[in-house]
Subunit: 142 residues, 2 copies
């Protein structure tokens, strides 16, 4: 569904969000350990998210990545930055031109599924998810 980069990115942001709620600012080593992802690759993904203002970062001792406590960040924003929006928009069969006027054979069927995914990602906030994580109701690694 998503690229590895995107999976790592979402996992990292969720951990960062959870820590940020406790005024902590994890660095890359802590993040990669917490979400069980390769450290240098995770660094690249987090840096990309910071460049795009999805995450905030601070250099130097006691620096790291963080989110505003009242962030309204949505799942969809992370996905859009890392994987682009082809998963929400693109044709299920990879046709360049595919619309309700000139639909591919699975256009209607996929539209429904994709719209469901899109709505879900646009209405799910990172803070909501981080909250459940905080409560121990969900997990970021096995």
């Amino acid at each position: 569904m998503f690229s590895k980069a995107c999976e790592y990115g979402i996992r990292a942001v969720l951990f960062i969000a959870k820590q940020s709620q406790q005024d902590l600012r994890p660095n890359i080593a802590e993040i990669a350990k917490a979400v069980d992802s390769p450290e240098p690759f995770t660094a690249k993904v987090c840096q990309q998210l910071a460049r795009e203002n999805v995450l905030l970062s601070k250099k130097g001792p006691n620096g790291g990545f963080y989110l505003e406590k009242d962030s309204t960040l949505k799942l969809s924003e992370i996905i859009a930055v890392i994987d682009g929006d082809s998963i929400f928009k693109g044709c299920g069969l990879g046709l360049g031109e595919c619309s309700s006027e000139k639909p591919c054979p699975v256009h209607d069927q996929f539209q429904e599924v994709r719209d469901g995914l899109k709505k879900m990602c646009e209405t799910t906030t990172i803070l909501q998810l981080a909250d459940k994580l905080q409560k121990g109701e969900t997990f970021l690694k096995l």
Copy 2:
């Protein structure tokens, strides 16, 4: 969503199904042209599908690929052969262990989307889709 191989595979099978309804047996060159896909890559995908008995093939003059006229082939079967079933089963965040007992932060949300995709792919038959193609209601290339 799907790999290129899978996209080409579905498009090829749909064209083959449409032709089969008219007792035609397109060869790779015809298929690749009809669905606008790279010929050698399409050949590999079709051969894989034939090996797995999703498609039938015949060598020699006037040979090519075909489907039984009363085939009950589902979209899900093509996807399963080419991409495997991770899209229907795997964790949205790539966790190896993710279940309702030990869910990832997006487990419930993704479950719903994935189930919708799964049900759609399992209930959509190739013959249904080929029929619309035949009627000119849908298209395989721009």
